[in-house]
Every structure is written in C-alpha cells, then in structure tokens.
C-alpha cells in the first residue's frame, strides 16, 4: 500500500508567480515524458518482473516518481498563485486558464491531455527495462529543455534536482538489465520470456 508523508522530497519555493512558465512546466506533470507516466510505467511493469531485484527497483523508482509528480504539481501551483489580470490573460497561459483556472491538470504543454499511450508495459523484462532506459533519457532532455527556457532561479533549482534523479534512475535500470542477463541463458538471452517461462 502507499502511505502519504506530509513533506516534499525536495523543497519547492517559488518566490515569483509566473503562469507563462507554469504552462511549460505542466508537461512534466502530464506530458509524454512526465512524472505521471513515469510512475505508472514502473509501478505497472513491476507485476510481471521475475526477480526480486527488478521488483524492488521498479517499486522504489516508481514510488520516487510519485514524489516528483507532487513536486511538479507544487511548482505549477506556486507559479499560478495570486495571479493578476494581465497574468492569466497572457496568451501563453490563457488556453490553460480557460479550462483549468489555477488547478493542476495532467496535460502536455501542447495541450494534449495525459495519455497512457505515452508509456508501455510489454510484459517482457528486457523490453520493459529497455523502455525504462529510454524513458529516463527523454525525461532528462525535457528537463534540459526547461532549463533552456526558464530563467527563474527558484524553478531551476528544483528542475536541476529532478534532472539529476533521471540520470541516477538510468544507471540503476542499466544495472538491473545486467542483473537480469546474469540469470538468463548465457548463449541467448532471448531464448524465452522470463516473465512467463521460468
């Protein structure tokens, strides 16, 4: 089960509201490489994982991603607090505002709502862990792009933290593939699907 802890993983304190920037950051809440998809991907893939290390790692990283979802929600919330007329009228934010006001809704910056089609659960550990390597890289690039676009030091402080986590997760998923490989047929790791055949 999950238990809520009444704290963020890392502090989010945004001094200056900036809805324009919130309209970009929201992509890591509900965009194709965002934290909602990340947590659901890992927490769903874990059921068909055959070995303890893989079950544990997907549970731990998936849980951390839920904490990141909360941090991104906190950034969007703080960037859209106490908005003045000209701020919600900003053409970069008004399309989000008309549907969600200052609520936090899982959507990509493009306006495309969160979709399970942006993640995969294949039910084969090598395929799923390889997807996870790619997913961490895509999230890392999204954070790189946010760092290019944003000049708010309070936002960037948090984004740098989140980006570093993607690099750590990539490393652990890569190690998980090696641990898996050591348990498979040495001559042909694709001999069968270890989620079904052992």
């Amino acid at each position: 089960m999950f238990v809520y802890e009444k704290k963020l993983q890392y502090p989010v304190k945004i001094a200056r509201p900036n809805p324009r920037l919130a309209a970009l950051i929201i992509s890591q809440y509900g965009g194709p490489d965002g934290e909602l998809g990340a947590s659901l991907r890992y927490l769903s893939q874990r059921y068909s994982m055959p070995f303890d290390e893989l079950k544990g790692l997907l549970t731990d990283i998936g849980t951390e991603e839920l904490g990141h979802l909360e941090m991104i929600g906190a950034i969007v919330h703080q960037l859209t607090r106490n908005m003045k007329d000209e701020q919600y009228r900003d053409p970069a934010f008004a399309p989000y505002f008309v549907d969600h006001t200052a609520g936090v809704y899982p959507t990509a910056a493009s306006g495309f709502p969160w979709s399970a089609a942006s993640m995969a659960v294949k039910g084969d550990p090598i395929a799923d862990l390889t997807e996870d390597l790619a997913a961490e890289q895509k999230a890392r690039v999204t954070y790189d792009n946010i760092l290019r676009l944003s000049d708010d030091p309070d936002v960037n402080d948090v984004i740098k933290f989140l980006r570093a986590r993607e690099v750590v997760h990539f490393q652990r998923f890569g190690e998980a593939i090696q641990l898996l490989r050591e348990k498979l047929d040495r001559k042909n790791v694709y001999f069968m699907n270890p989620a079904m055949d052992i």
Partner: protein
C-alpha cells in the same frame, strides 16, 4: 591506480566478452565516492560519479537547516542508498550506512511529530487532530524557510 579508488567514481564495470544485441550500462563499482548529505540533496544525487549536470548548471547554495530539510536530507540519503542496494545488495558498507540513516530518520521524525506535527498518520501524537494543520507541502509557506 585501482579502478575502485578513482576520485569521482565516474567509471564502472562492463561484462567481459558480452553477448551481442543487448543494451549495456557499466555497473557502478562498490563503495563509490559520495557527497556529504546536504550537498547530495542539492545536487540531486549522493554519488559524485553520477552527478552529470547540464551546461554546468549546478545548485551551489545549501538549503537552510530546518526540521523539515533535516528530514528531507536524511530521507534522501536512505532513498539513494536503497536504489543502490537494489542492484548492489552485497555492498556491506552501503548497507551499514542505510541502517545508520534509518535510525537517524526515525529519531528525527519522532522529534518532528512532537514539536511540529505528524509526518504521516502513523506518527503517535497527543492533543488535537494536527494532521489537518496548514501548511501542506506544496504551499509556498511550507517551503519558504528551506
């Protein structure tokens, strides 16, 4: 020089004569160099070898020490070690550090519950139902001292 004693731990281990058509990430060597916890938290990793920032953009200023940032720091060390142990379960030093920080976190969480409020529904407390007390974690005022 022994590869395991590289100052930043940026190099890992690949399998010898590895099978083809497989994705490989070098395995992080055991007992890798680590930051002090407050620095690890702001850098987003405890491991110097995994700290690979974008265009030299790094957080330099350490967070203020508040009861909450203390808890966040201890929890971060445990979380980072847990993920390391998920793929390095036989690293005795990492396990020892994980246990040590679990003890510290538990102690700190109990003090937090006594003086500020419950961190979760399982923290014993007395008096009124403090769970609902503001601020909630996503609010600016919950973080402004950090």
């Amino acid at each position: 020089m022994d590869a395991t004693k590289r100052p930043t731990g940026r190099k890992g281990r690949l399998p010898a004569r590895a099978p083809l058509a497989n994705p490989y990430v070098p395995f992080q060597l055991e007992d890798p160099p680590m930051y002090e916890p407050p620095k690890g938290l702001i850098r987003g990793t405890m491991y110097q070898g995994l700290d690979l920032p974008f265009m030299g953009m790094v957080n330099k200023r350490e967070r203020n020490t508040t009861p909450k940032t203390q808890l966040q720091t201890l929890a971060f060390v445990i979380q980072e070690l847990a993920m390391y142990l998920d793929t390095h379960r036989d690293d005795a030093r990492a396990l020892e550090m994980y246990r040590e920080y679990q003890r510290r976190y538990h102690q700190c969480k109990m003090e937090y519950a006594d003086t500020i409020g419950p961190m979760d529904h399982f923290s014993p407390g007395e008096g009124s139902y403090q769970w609902l007390d503001d601020p909630w974690p996503w609010e600016y005022c919950a973080n402004k001292e950090a």
